[in-house]
Assembly symmetry: C2
Homo-oligomer: 148 residues x 2
Amino acid sequence: MAKKKKECPHCGKEFSEYKNPIPTVDIIIEIENQGIVLIKRKNYPHGWALPGGFVDYGESIEQAAAREAREETSLKLENLKQFRVYSDPRRDPRQHTISVVFIARARGTPHPDDDAEDLGIFTSKSLPRPIVFDHEKILYDYFTYRNS
Amino acid sequence: MAKKKKECPHCGKEFSEYKNPIPTVDIIIEIENQGIVLIKRKNYPHGWALPGGFVDYGESIEQAAAREAREETSLKLENLKQFRVYSDPRRDPRQHTISVVFIARARGTPHPDDDAEDLGIFTSKSLPRPIVFDHEKILYDYFTYRNS
């Protein structure tokens, strides 16, 4: 396993420890007859993305998906289902993350919150630009799956 | 996000940092007309388990699955496909892991290596005991999926 260097905040000396990819979740939220929800990110990398975020220690991926959707869009998810996992080490410019992507439904009007500066509901023909991370690929896979 | 306490190996003082679940892979390897491969673990928790292990930083989950299968069973995987993700915080008694489970095929005779003390090929009717982690549940889901 790969090791990473850490620096002690007290004595300043370096030591190494195991380094693991970071687990995340992303959620494709379908609003009936309208499309799917994307958020405009407040933080780097700037652009549009699926709602999502880091999985907390002690939390299942389903709990993380429900929490992140609520925090970023104010929506309550229904019919949450695993779609696919994306793990290319280059998918996030900050660090190696592994994202479990879910598909879910929601009713009501989403409101941006937390890491979301803005949000919108889009179809495959109306996607905004730029879309960050590998979320354009995820959306391509999703629309291909929905049309098959 | 949850934080964990670390102790500096040089000065012995504690500091806290973000704690994340650890990503792993497990592989259901199908040997044609025979069954699926389970390994008998050398290390705690002792018992039978699917071949698998930790995902290295900088490695995709598909690469990790191929590497772990090779290291533990000497088999080369074909037709590797994502099955499902298991993330219950209690699934591993040592720490919170999130496992992406794959289904794959292999030809030839598996040989135990690395963390495997022994291995065997089993069907739903001939499973060994005890099966550790949540792998009995994973196998139940797999056989249900195969029979549906």
